[in-house]
């Protein structure tokens, strides 16, 4: 079950500048755990200590926000793409 995790520019300092990382995982939670094994510290940028995705981060499986799927328990299949992006926001 190889999936590709797409790393946003602000988190690439954890991944030796890699924009994409492949891991073996059956769920989003497992993918993030594997990513953190490879690049320690990256998961806490994405998730709260209890495992929930931080409010300013969105995670996508094949372009779909996991909030509209099964959250971090969303299952992954071979070849799936997991995208991660921090919010982009501001105001006057």
């Amino acid at each position: 079950m190889a999936v590709t995790i797409l790393i946003p520019a602000p988190l690439r300092r954890f991944t030796e500048d890699r924009a994409a990382v492949q891991v073996e995982a059956k769920t989003v939670t497992e993918a993030l755990a594997k990513l953190d094994e490879l690049y320690p510290g990256i998961r806490e940028r994405i998730c709260e200590p209890d495992g929930r995705v931080r409010r300013f981060v969105s995670i996508f499986v094949n372009g779909k926000d996991i909030r509209s799927l099964q959250g971090v328990e969303t299952p992954l299949a071979d070849g799936d793409e997991v995208g991660i992006i921090p919010a982009m926001a501001g105001g006057r």
Partner: protein
């Protein structure tokens, strides 16, 4: 110095004018110090009330409902996450780099607000273009980077 083609520069201003009095927002693709293309993204500020509230970025007493008179929603932007992701992929697929973002200040100066500086922390050192419509006949676009709360300005050269 940031370089940008005139039609893309103009596209930022026109997007800002279309969205006013709401803020317009979008992403920037290019190489190095040259912006090659701007990508409008839908502003979903009205759906992000908790996001702003938990950071203390909604002044007390202000209504957030988008249609309420004096709503704060018109003074904030929050890019639609799915669209933001789609556009970032499009930028990469077209061989460009994601250089940063732009947004408008419909009634205030083209300078990063406290909200802008705090939220730029998620995208350190990325380019931040701000288009001010405070003087409607004379839109102003300025370029900044924010790193660890410090704002630095870059000059813009519009290329014909």
């Amino acid at each position: 110095m940031i370089r940008i083609p005139r039609d893309q520069y103009q596209a930022i201003i026109e997007h800002a004018q279309r969205e006013a009095p709401r803020e317009a927002c979008g992403l920037l693709g290019g190489h190095g110090e040259r912006i090659e293309r701007v990508y409008p993204v839908t502003n979903r500020a009205e759906l992000a009330v908790e996001f702003f509230a938990e950071r203390g970025l909604i002044p007390p007493g202000r209504d957030y409902r988008p249609d309420a008179p004096g709503s704060i929603a018109v003074e904030r932007f929050f890019m639609d996450p799915e669209e933001q992701f789609r556009v970032l992929r499009e930028i990469e697929r077209s061989g460009l780099d994601h250089l940063g973002s732009y947004h408008s200040h419909p009634a205030t100066a083209a300078y990063p607000s406290r909200t802008d500086v705090e939220l730029a922390a998620f995208w350190p050192n990325m380019l931040l273009l701000i288009c001010s419509l405070a003087a409607p006949a004379r839109p102003v676009v300025r370029a900044f980077r924010v790193y660890e709360g410090q704002v630095s300005e870059e000059s813009i050269l519009v290329e014909d």
